[in-house]
Amino acid sequence: ADKKVVVGYQTDALPSSVAIANGEFATATGYDIDFRKFNSGADVFAAIASGDVQVGYVGSSPFAAATSRGLAVKAFYLASISGIDEALVVRNGSGINSLNDLKGKKLAAAPVSTDHYQLLQLIKSLGLTEKTVQVLAIPQPEIVAAFNRGDIDGGFVWDPALTELKKTGKVLITSKEVAEKGAPTFSAWVVSDKFAKDNSAFLTQFSSVINKYYASFTRDKTAWSAESDNAKALAKLLGGTAEQQAAALNNLNLLTPEAQASAAWLGGGEKSGAAQILKETSQFLKEQGKISEVLPSYAAFVTPDALKATQ
Amino acid sequence: MLRISNASVFFEGRQRKEIHALDRVSLDISEGDFVVALGASGCGKSTLLNAIAGFLPLTEGSITLNGRPVGGPGADRGVVFQKDTLLPWSTVIDNVALGLKFAGVSRKERHEKAAELLGLVGLADFARSFPHELSGGMRQRVGIARALATEPDILLMDEPFGALDSLTREQMQELLISVWHRTGKRIFFITHSIEEALFLGTKVIVMSPRPGRVVARYDLDFVRRFIETQDVRSIHLSPEFANLREEIRDILHSDHHLAGAAA
């Protein structure tokens, strides 16, 4: 393998992560792949901008922030879209029983996560503002600590924090439901434009590997149970326990390769779902004063090419 | 009474050799005594003084003050050091008033007292100067004023006049004699000047080095004679004085070629 590539990933549980652990991405593409773990999408983008990382896994919120600032990257594979793997959990005894009780409460989500975006969107859709509902942007371990202590009333989180919060609280609304209310999100594999231009074959093979694992996951539930080798491999790679990983996988909302490549998600240029979500997210972030510009079109940041080539 | 009995001190030297700095020295300092220690450089004078002051434990022997063993330093024994130990961050007057401050004397009172003492040692003009702005001799005089300020029972003075010119030295000697005479304080005084020792001491001990021991003791009354007559010159020129000077000189010279040179 004389060609080198550095890929940034995060600790999300995805079926394809097993291929990171067992080296299948490398064998399938023939590239020397250096996988690096990042803690947030913002860090991934910083690394892509430095030129040290060519391919990365990110959520739609940091993606929107980065592209709005002019970073030349493209999403070539949608790893997942809003599912029930992320949810707003409220603390027992917080007095929140429905969405109507949120006024005057303290809620939290991890900074620049899609959760944070969805939580803010949710509040807006309820006709509330950040003046009436306090939204704290804190990392997940800290959310769990503050939740347990009773300092916050709810948290919009994913696993393992989700499982942890559910022990003393209940799910108020899931990410999927918020998406249906008009604030969809996704997570995607992105590639820097520069690298994409000369390495389309790599991206195709990379996508094929993901496809293979996603197919296995939808087909064969026992191969992905808590006792399975796959779950153990994930735990070893990402941390946590096999049970945590298996549970997290089950809450994913995955798209088929065909659906992704269609005009609805990546193939529709400006009208494709991913580009739309980016634009909406950017608009929202601008309203929030987090970013200063919204581009007229986000079509340049999505491409169905790699996926089409796998079919 | 301050009683030193059989005091011995060994220091740890280089290469595991001990340095025998003080060898079974016995000495009593009673009410009204003005004891002067004389001896070659390195013979243990400062070591003896440090032990009395409580800065140094003895290897053997004991030092008691009015019957109780000396445990550590205390305000009952005022010390004038061979080395400059003024506080660089305090003005001269505050340095002199330091002991009074420790004793809880009010600022006004202690400054009055300190100013008076500074006048006595000829530094009235330098009350607000800092020690580093003084000459070596002036710093020494500040140290003397500081030790006098608290009026300790015993004054321990380590070559206090070593850095002074002859005139200032004579004036300081007279000042010290008058303080001693007026208050009846006990004084333990180190000097390397035979004349000074003879002129000041009611008891003079002559020490010799390696190991540091007392080789001669004298009871003298030149100082009392001075108090009566106030005539320095006649004392210095008296035959007894000259004879004693030569005698002590011989003792010191007979001992060693150069202090410290012999093993």
Partner: protein, 284 residues
């Protein structure tokens, strides 16, 4: 051997008053001001920054131009950022750092001196300090929240912990530079232990303590972002983090500039304090 001259008349008659005075030739800097050079350097650095952005050596995303940062500063100054005005951000951070620094100074100096003097104090306190101090604040953030909540207490505690150790360590080291002779002199003048402590040990150790405080304040600012990760809604650290997460580098630069300015103010005060408190350094 003859008297050459006894020029009591020839040389008497004092030189006219109000003469230029001299000082012993010092060592190193001794009073010579470096402000002009420092300002020149600052200007050169800003010019370099401007040039780098002008020549597009670095993508705008990662090194905004001075003009952009200034513009962003004005915007934030007028409109605030992330739900609070600039004044509120700065005020919140200054309050936290200031309070934590005050607490660290008030506890760190006496405890450090005590540890330098007393075997028991040293033995008992050494273990916990040596243990907690090198721990990365990020690693025990959740613990701080569990124990102290997400309010000001935990943020200030975190800052306090970061600042306490350098002060305490330098106070300890300072005690070792008290000369034995000076301590002996004070004891002979009747100093009780606490007087020795206040009048001899403290001033002797002061130069080292002040260095420790300067370092501590730097460490404090450095920990600000970590502290304000704890569920903040305002503070410069919070501002920087929110901006960094959205790759708003210009806002990050505004935050950095504000921290620099504040830190510079602190540092200036401390240097002044050093000049006032320890003018004798190197002269003892």
């Amino acid at each position: 051997m003859t008297v050459l001259e006894l020029n009591t008349t020839a040389e008497k008659g004092t030189v006219a008053s109000a003469k230029k005075t001299v000082r012993p030739i010092g060592f190193g800097l001794e009073g010579r001001s470096t402000t002009a050079i420092s300002i020149a350097t600052a200007i050169a650095l800003i010019a370099l920054w401007w040039l780098a952005t002008e020549l597009k050596l670095v993508p705008r995303l990662f090194l905004p131009s001075p003009a952009e940062v200034l513009r962003q500063f004005v915007t934030i100054f007028n409109d605030g950022y992330a739900g609070a005005s600039l004044g509120e951000h700065v005020g919140a951070s200054l309050f936290r750092i200031g309070l934590a620094a005050a607490l660290a100074v008030l506890t760190g100096i006496p405890l450090g001196l005590l540890m330098g003097l007393n075997r028991w104090a040293k033995g008992v306190l050494d273990t916990p300090i040596e243990f907690y101090w090198p721990l990365p604040p990020l690693s025990y953030l959740p613990l701080m929240i569990i124990w102290l909540g997400i309010g000001e207490t935990s943020k200030i505690s975190l800052l306090f912990l970061a600042m306490f150790a350098p002060i305490c360590l330098s106070a300890q080291a300072g005690v070792r530079s008290v000369s034995v002779e000076r301590a002996n002199a004070a004891k002979s003048l009747g100093a009780k232990p606490w007087q020795l402590f206040i009048h001899i040990v403290l001033p002797s150790a002061l130069p080292e303590i002040l260095t420790g405080v300067r370092i501590a304040i730097g460490v404090g600012w450095g920990t600000l972002v970590a502290a304000e990760l704890i569920a903040s809604t305002r503070g410069i650290g919070f501002l920087i983090m929110s901006a960094a997460q959205f790759l708003a580098t210009d806002v990050v630069f505004v935050g950095i500039a504000i921290i620099s300015l504040c830190a510079f103010g602190f540092s200036f005060t401390l240097r002044l304090l050093e000049k006032i408190l320890v003018p004798w350094k190197g002269k003892s």
